[in-house]
Amino acid sequence: MSDDVLFFKEFSIMGKDFSNAGSVSTEIKSILKEIGFDRLIVRRAAIASYEAEMNVVMYAKRAVARLSATPTSIKIEFQDEGQGIADVDLALEEGYSTATPEMREMGFGAGMGLPNIRHNADEFDISSEVDKGTHLIFTIHADGNNG
């Protein structure tokens, strides 16, 4: 098993583009399934990517998502341009949300997005700057075996 075997792909996401929302995480999931990662690992990656993608669609102007997969790890990055998060620690608390009533009506904004990503990831890192954007990186460990 060698870790230098890397699958890399980049995706772009537009803010407020609800008609395509979820397509990037669906593609990430298909790639991981196709490679043959364990299905529980794929499930965690899919859920975390979907939450991250929806955060971009709702709050940011645009973003780049990057998938880097090796036999032992799946690293997913979302780097967006947008309003950023003023208090990252608060945003990581379950139930905290800055969603508008309209977003909540649409079924979003339960304040579970970031906590859910962190919960599904083995490594989680977030940095944000107000009015600039947010950079989120999370990694899920794989055992190198085919699922």
């Binding site: 490679i35 043959g36 299905r39 990517s49 997969a69 085919n146």
Partner: protein
Amino acid sequence: MDRYYHPIEIRPELCNGRMKCMRICPTRAIRVKQGKAQIIDELCVDCGACITVCPSGAIVPLTDPFASSLNFKYKVALPSPVLFSQFRPEADPRKVVQGLKKIGFDYVCDVSDACEEVSIAVEEYLSSYRGRLPLISQLCPAVVRLIQVKYPDLTELVAPIEVPREIAARDVKQKLSRELGVGLEDIGVIYITTCASKMVSIKQPAEKESSWIDGAVSIADVFGPLFAAVSDIKDEDVDVDGSEGFRFSAGWSMLGEMTRLVGSEHSISVSGLSDVTQILDDIENSRLRDVEFVEAMSCLGGCIGGALVVENMYVARSSTNSLLRKYGSKFTADRDKVVEKFRKGHYSLERELAPRPLRPLDPDLAKAIEKKKQKDTIYTSLPRIDCGCCGAPTCLAFAEDIVRGTAKLEDCIYREEKQNG
């Protein structure tokens, strides 16, 4: 890998290689090699979409011929509720029951009771279920196979409740065996089916050793003789009391009927495999976690849109609605009794539904990653117009075939042109 039973066969001598099946197949399970269509075993989910589009009649459903279904001492017809919608709504449905007896069946069993019971069982199951949501209906064998094959992680969400046709078959066999004093093996239950996929759940059930149903004939095959028999019955000869088998209260022939009966507030009904796929993707992304129940059917509109029916789906739906108005949708099951039977496991599956994931690109993850990269590179080099001339339905499927070693890059006519020009 064990051979999977498929209820669909391509007759090479009839196949003209016109690729209509290959293009319509929702799981991209068909390739055309040397002018003949072939099915890739592990990819086929038995939806039957290819049967209807074949211009040469080369794709045949392997349902039982009508005559062979009568090789039992005591023959029970178990018609899909869709059968009644194939006649004009003015036709008395009791005549259909009588007609089935005239063409050789000894008994006709209505699946309505079992549908009611199953809806109560699913409701009971949902009320105490605290796991991952939503649960997915277990009715359509093609959807169940699709989940096993392409969404293995969702297999655990398929409601672990037996389907109405199996419950009806088991209960009627036990009842008749008791009443008539004959052995279970002498009673043959023949399902009159709208699709080929139910054959799979009879011949190679996913969740138990063997089916209670002994065979399946298609509505299309039985309709000719049945129509003649029904036309011969005069109005005054309609057996008003004797028709053991017609209530039509809860026949799940149309999409949405199951969710209506299960009575869950947060439910989705979806039909047509491409739409079903979208919903399954959403479930995988955990986007639908506040939905409790998803009724998913492979054929557009539900079983009424099956490939082996004779009437147009829209006409059949109108007839079904007339029948429902006339004969009511009164619920007659004794709820407490059903709940008691549910607790005793009367409706449980014999064994857990297992995932049947596709063969990965390579058993070794590192090699699989390499092959995935190769596949993507090959794909980008292709014209990406999905012309199908190579014998694969899409350029993407072709790229995968190359990486898996079942196709050669030279099969792409556009690359040839590039090289020659």
